[in-house]
């Protein structure tokens, strides 16, 4: 079992899921300015996390089946978060509250270690992502992401991948053809 499988197995055993949510295509789980401290587990579907500035949307992350997804800033700080989380197709989620999750972590050192390992993996992903953003060549950005997560190109609509890669949909089409 990988980290996430082990974690969900243990959450199942402790019976900690608070409820299940279904989102239709394009519906929002969370919008800008809200405080959402829950952790969500995706049982079906796909989502994107994005920010809106004065001009456009910036897609910064995706969540697929068997992933955890959250507004991590809200989760950690209990603060309002600028992120939107939107379903890209019909999506089912299981919900666990922060309070329940924290006491679950504190109840057993192995749970805590598991979470620690997951956060480490997340930090490494974020470092890769930082290198993406600093990579000036669009083709190199595309190659990096294709190599790292080929799943993205199967599950996510083209325009959101382009936003994630910080290029126009036209540029992405051109790169894919060449």
């Amino acid at each position: 079992m990988n980290l996430i499988e082990t974690l969900t197995f243990r959450i199942n055993q402790a019976n900690l899921w608070k409820k299940e949510i279904t989102l239709k295509r394009n519906e929002y789980l969370k919008v800008e300015g809200s405080i959402d401290t829950n952790l969500y587990y995706v049982t079906e579907g796909a989502l994107r996390i994005f920010l809106v500035d004065e001009i456009e949307e910036h897609t910064i992350r995706f969540g697929y089946r068997n992933n955890f997804i959250a507004a991590l800033d809200s989760f950690i700080k209990d603060s309002p978060s600028p992120f939107y989380i939107q379903a890209l197709k019909k999506t089912n989620l299981k919900v666990i509250s922060k309070t329940d999750y924290i006491s679950f972590l504190k109840s057993n050192i192995e749970n805590l270690q598991l979470w620690d390992n997951l956060l480490q993996a997340l930090i490494l992903q974020q470092l890769e992502r930082e290198i993406d953003i600093l990579t000036s060549s669009p083709i190199e950005r595309y190659k990096r992401v294709l190599k790292r997560s080929p799943q993205l190109f199967q599950e996510i609509p083209h325009k959101h991948i382009a936003s994630y890669l910080r290029m126009t949909p036209e540029t992405l089409s051109r790169i894919k053809k060449s």
Binding site: K24, R25, N26, E27, Y28, K30, V31, E32, G33, S34, I35, V52, P80, P82
Partner: protein, 184 residues
């Protein structure tokens, strides 16, 4: 009405999320459905939303300007004004929608409308969310805004948000009905 300021903002953000999700549902329908009038005297779905856009064109810049020109800090409690509270509550959707008069300048009837109306409205909601979040740091009591129907009175910012958002909810109910969509 007295309420914790941040709880009020949280509530209004949740309502706006609901409004956005309902609008996303509307987008899935054909232009024909969205233009259908339930009867000659009532609005189509797109007319309902365009009516909301008219209000947005007035209120969003108004709220933004008042926030930008103010240094009045947030307070723990928001106390609704008499008039502001009356407007807000009268707009909330009820079980059976009561008919209300609309002002001529806000009546979109018979304008030629396409799906861009929905995108405009969704963009307005993104702006509204930014303003709601920003106003967590400002006084919902002391900052006042003008209202669309008369220049003679001003209402408290907290009530202005309630008016705009309850009004959105009200016409979303009507818009979903006009498209004969089941309410969630």
């Amino acid at each position: 009405m007295k309420v914790n300021s941040s709880l009020l903002i949280d509530d209004l953000i949740e309502r706006t999320k609901e409004v956005i999700n309902q609008t996303e549902t509307l987008k899935e329908n054909s232009l024909e459905t969205l233009n259908k009038k339930p009867n000659p005297n009532s609005w189509s779905t797109l007319e309902c939303i365009e009516h909301l856009n008219y209000y947005g064109y007035f209120y969003l810049p108004e709220i933004k300007a008042r926030l930008n020109n103010s240094n009045k800090k947030a307070e723990a409690v928001f106390k609704s004004g008499i008039l502001g509270n009356y407007f807000a509550i009268s707009l909330l959707p009820k079980q059976k929608l009561n008919k209300m008069k609309t002002f001529k300048s806000m009546n979109p009837s018979n304008s030629k409308l396409n799906k861009e109306v929905l995108n405009t409205f969704l963009n307005q909601q993104q702006t509204l969310l930014k303003l709601l979040n920003k106003s967590r740091d400002y006084s919902l009591n002391k900052i006042k805004t003008s209202i669309s129907i008369t220049k003679l009175i001003k209402i408290k910012l907290g009530d202005t948000f309630r008016v705009v958002i309850y009004h959105n909810q009200r016409h979303l109910v009507q818009a979903l009905k006009a498209a004969k969509l089941n309410l969630p």
